[in-house]
Symmetry: C2
Subunit: 212 residues, 2 copies
């Protein structure tokens, strides 16, 4: 242990504080958004001083950018993970997509609403443009759906509509969660049970809707 070089120790400490900041920023930004978040909140959450935030990340915008990019990537990575697989058929892919997206949302409850909202409010900003470009929506799935239609494997449907449906059914409940909870009094525990059910329910729902 004592043989670790000093530079490594320093690096270790540096990363640790930086990581504390990132974790805190993630929590505050995803909850309050760019304009709603306060640097003071992030500092408090991280248990450090406000000035340190500026030492590690030059500005609020730079810190936000990091969190926003990370969040956008996470949101679209899982759902596209299996899209290009050659080994699964369309139904299996849909099942996997739905499950992955629901699991991701359960682990990161504020993430979908955060990403969607920042794009909504700042669609024309350079940050959104840059990040939006990076997220390559695979055209493979669209093509595979079209092919399934052509071969009579599923009923005729506009592939883009089906893609939208898959995303809608997987993500919307997490975005609407606070509204649902306020006027139905649904507890976090019951919500979690409901979402657990949904992994299977949504896949079934979609497959029934598109099969011949």
């Amino acid at each position: 242990m004592t043989q670790i070089k000093e530079t490594e120790v320093i690096k270790e400490i540096r990363i640790s504080t930086e990581e504390k900041i990132v974790t805190a920023a993630r929590k505050v930004f995803t909850k309050k958004g760019l304009s709603g978040a306060r640097m003071q909140d992030i500092a408090d959450e991280a248990g450090i001083n406000k000035a340190l935030l500026h030492y590690y990340f030059r500005s609020k915008e730079k810190l936000f950018e990091k969190i926003f990019e990370e969040a956008s990537t996470k949101m679209f990575t899982k759902i596209t993970e299996f899209i290009d697989s050659k080994e699964m058929n369309l139904f299996e892919k849909i099942e996997k997509m739905v499950e992955n997206q629901i699991v991701m949302s359960m682990e990161n409850p504020f993430l979908p609403a955060f990403v969607v909202n920042e794009f909504h409010q700042n669609a024309e900003s350079s940050i959104c443009q840059t990040i939006g470009q990076k997220m390559t929506v695979s055209k493979k799935l669209i093509e595979q759906i079209q092919e399934a239609v052509n071969q009579g494997f599923i009923r005729p449907i506009n592939p883009l509509q089906l893609f939208i449906n898959i995303m809608s059914l997987s993500m919307f409940p997490f975005i609407a969660k606070p509204i649902m909870q306020i006027n139905t009094g649904l507890s976090d525990e019951l919500f979690a049970v409901l979402m657990e059910q949904r992994k299977k329910e949504v896949a079934d729902f979609i497959i029934r809707a598109i099969r011949m």
Copy 2:
């Protein structure tokens, strides 16, 4: 014309300015949210001075409250409009709900994301609590779905899941519109065509998914 009493003329002018403010506030708040909106932006949009906003509405919060309540009501009014009807069967109601919600969203493109986001960011605030209570989610539809299941009219399904699915498919596309547009380059015109198609497509999709 000249016979109109002075009091009426004055009232006319007052309402006119107030209406200008509300219209401007609606536009700015639904686009930028509470924390992102600036009173100056609203004044500019209304073509008046900042001080006038405070003359008509005491504070930014009060003005926001009005817009937010109006928006929340609009968002959930249309979708529940036909829920209690005795004359329609379940499938007809679903068709109507979907169509109404899509039409409303096309006319008020920023509204769904706005409402959902403010509830997300301020779920515990008094404004959200108050407004959330007012929106009575009719239990009639849930009951009617359960009955349809019991009678074997539709396949067994958790009524709440079906309700969530209806809302998801109708509203999510408008919330995700900016993201879709950035990375597919979809124009406003093509998006509108797609949503027009959806009125029928979504209803079909749901009915196929739940029929026996």
